[in-house]
């Protein structure tokens, strides 16, 4: 019998400090056993339990795309016991990954549609995975226009800044990067909160599906903007967070009503969420 609690051993291949407050680092992992990489076959939107022996496990969205082979990446915000420990780990240290877990963004439904991606702060990880996945030459033709609104409090708190700059230059993706405020005179992108920029830049909900990932306050104010634009709740897709342990719908803590965020989620449409108790 397979043991779903047993992590695959991985080696830290690289650690990148993402933000100027040094609170977010991206970890690149390589599986010690190549066959484990095949078993860890994932779809953008899924997450995994990162396992640090002696400290514990944390559920984190997968930031790499399945089109990127040979490694997986996760961006970790320093918050608690495990994440703080991880921030002090070094290249070549050994730890574990368990997954992939949960559902994913509705890729089949998104085919042939305009895709609007709205992200805020450090919740941009699985959105990064999704963008890289869609921009892959083999996948790009499956989707129509791709539009991204991504905001952080300040320029130094944006994730994946090199990639953002590259995507800005491309003509097959519309980027709208924004910050809440900045004193940088050379800042060449938007200034304003994500909901405001969404209202300015997104002009139509026609044949479009919106994926929203961010802090609760951003989601709260973006939702009415999208509804005003004409997005029905079925086409507003959200990814939730919850305290988790098992990640496979057994340990009982991450439920919202009869849905487990770890197994039935973390991705829910707004339509589905409206049928669930507001306990998240």
């Amino acid at each position: 019998m397979e043991n779903p609690y047993l992590p695959y051993p991985v080696r830290i291949d690289d650690i990148i400090t993402e933000t100027e407050d040094r609170n977010l680092k991206t970890f690149k992992f390589i599986f010690l056993n190549p066959e484990d990489e095949e078993k860890f076959s994932y779809t953008p939107g899924q997450f995994a339990e990162l396992s640090v022996p002696g400290k514990g496990e944390i559920p984190i969205g997968i930031a790499s795309s399945p089109t990127e082979k040979g490694f997986v990446t996760f961006t970790i915000n320093k918050v608690g016991l495990v994440t703080t420990h991880m921030h002090n780990m070094q290249k070549d240290d050994i730890m574990g990954i368990r997954g992939p877990l949960g559902n994913w963004y509705p890729w089949e439904e998104m085919e042939g549609k305009n895709v609007v991606i709205i992200g805020g702060g450090f919740a941009f990880t699985t959105l990064r995975s999704s963008i890289v996945y869609m921009l892959n030459p083999e996948n790009r033709k499956r989707f129509k226009d791709i539009t991204v609104v991504y905001g952080a409090r300040s320029p130094g708190l944006l994730l994946y800044r090199d990639e953002l700059a590259e995507w800005e230059k491309r003509d097959d993706i519309n980027m709208h990067i924004t910050v809440d405020g900045t004193d940088d005179p050379d800042w060449k992108y938007n200034v304003g909160f994500v909901p405001t920029i969404t209202e300015e830049k997104i002009t139509s909900a026609d044949n479009a599906i919106a994926i929203v990932c961010g802090p609760p306050i951003m989601i709260k104010f973006t939702q009415p903007v999208l509804e005003k634009l004409g997005f029905p709740p079925e086409r507003i897709i959200l990814s939730l967070e919850m305290r988790m342990k098992c990640g496979i719908g057994i340990c009982g803590r991450c439920n919202i009503g009869d849905q487990y965020v770890c197994k039935d989620g973390p991705v829910f449409s707004l339509a589905k969420l409206k049928q669930m108790p507001g306990e998240y």
Binding site: P4, Y5, G96, P216, K245, C251, G252, G257, D258
Partner: protein, 346 residues
């Protein structure tokens, strides 16, 4: 279906003999209460009991259980790599388990052994366990098994059922595992028709001794959000002190936590029973807590048992009617009353 009749004295000798084939767990009087313990020189069975204070769920699903081991010693080539812990999955038998507690394993099985994931620790232990039930001649005043799909002599979930006929025990095999157990049981004699009739009558007459009936028939038709937002939760949870007694005693509560424990350079990953009554159960790293108020936690417990489970599995409620939470709740919160309120709410 094999039947064997034992005198009560014989039964004890038989159980001693069965120790060759099984680890035998029996109800043992421990202070004011009974508890299941492994049969040995110190622990003698006492079958003259109503039910154990703690449910026997821990014999399949220990309160604290090692999942993995690892070393943090960097000189070891396997440092920081989790290894599955050695486990003893040799055959064991819980002798004297009440039918409600056996039914509880069936309720919980849907969680630990589902089409997507099988929890190997639970499944292997459950598969190696034979449940030898003792029918309830004298149900407690708090028992309501008959309202939730069980009964004092209900065979569902049992491998063997034993009838206490006063001077004798009649053992009846129900499943293949049960046949094995009864066949291995040395001694005993064939049961004559009078004995069988007495057993039959006992199981019928015990039904009348269950005084409480709880309605759960309308729960399935309710809308989750309507029950969730109903005004009665403040009243239901008002007296609750979130002590968690109900969840620890409950044979159908299955929630657990996973923790790492390290001594020197050697570590274990352990799972422990957890409780939805505790605020830490749902506290996010950010400090946000979706169930930070006690009324939300009380509601979670009852909604899980009486609505979410009902909707998810179409297998009735997540309760076997053992009545432990009713008996031991320090502030007298009664799941039977809550079920009535929920079932009658519109």
């Amino acid at each position: 279906m094999t039947l064997k009749l034992f005198t009560k004295e014989q039964w004890l000798t038989t159980l001693e003999g069965l120790k060759e084939s099984y680890k035998i767990f029996v109800p043992v009087k421990d202070g004011d209460f009974h508890t299941f313990k492994e049969l040995d020189e110190r622990n003698k069975p006492d079958f003259d009991y109503q039910n154990t204070r703690m449910s026997p769920k821990s014999l399949v699903y220990p309160q604290s259980e090692r999942m993995f081991e690892y070393t943090l010693d960097d000189n070891d080539p396997d440092a920081h790599i989790m290894k599955e812990s050695e486990k003893d999955y040799s055959p064991r038998a819980i002798v004297g388990i009440r039918p409600c507690d056996a039914h509880a394993f069936q309720i919980v099985k849907l969680n630990f052994d589902n089409p997507e994931y099988r929890d190997p620790l639970w499944v292997k232990r459950f598969e190696s366990t034979t449940l030898v039930g003792l029918g309830c001649n004298e149900p407690c005043p708090t028992c309501f098994c008959t309202s939730v799909g069980g009964g004092p002599f209900d065979e569902k979930g049992l491998d063997v059922i034993v009838f206490d006929l006063g001077e004798t025990f009649l053992a009846k095999a129900i499943t293949e595992k049960g046949e094995d157990f009864v066949n291995k049981a040395q001694g005993g004699s064939e049961a004559d028709n009078t004995t069988l009739k007495a057993a039959e009558e006992l199981s019928v007459s015990s039904l009348d001794k269950i005084s409480v009936s709880v309605s759960t028939d309308k729960l399935k038709d309710k809308v989750i959000n309507e029950l969730f937002e109903a005004p009665f939760w403040d009243d239901v949870g008002f007296a609750c002190i979130n002590c968690g007694t109900c969840t620890y005693l409950c044979p159908t509560c299955w929630c657990f936590d996973i923790q790492d424990e390290v001594l020197g350079k050697e570590g274990d990953r352990i799972r422990n029973w957890d409780s939805c009554m505790f605020p830490l159960f749902t506290l996010h790293g950010s400090g946000h807590n979706p169930r930070d108020k006690k009324v939300q936690r009380v509601r979670q417990r009852f909604m899980h048992k009486l609505k979410y489970y009902v909707d998810k599995y179409d297998n009735g409620v997540q309760c076997s009617g053992c009545g432990r939470c009713v008996r031991y709740c320090p502030v007298n919160i009664d799941i039977r009353e809550v079920a009535e309120i929920m079932n009658g709410y519109s």
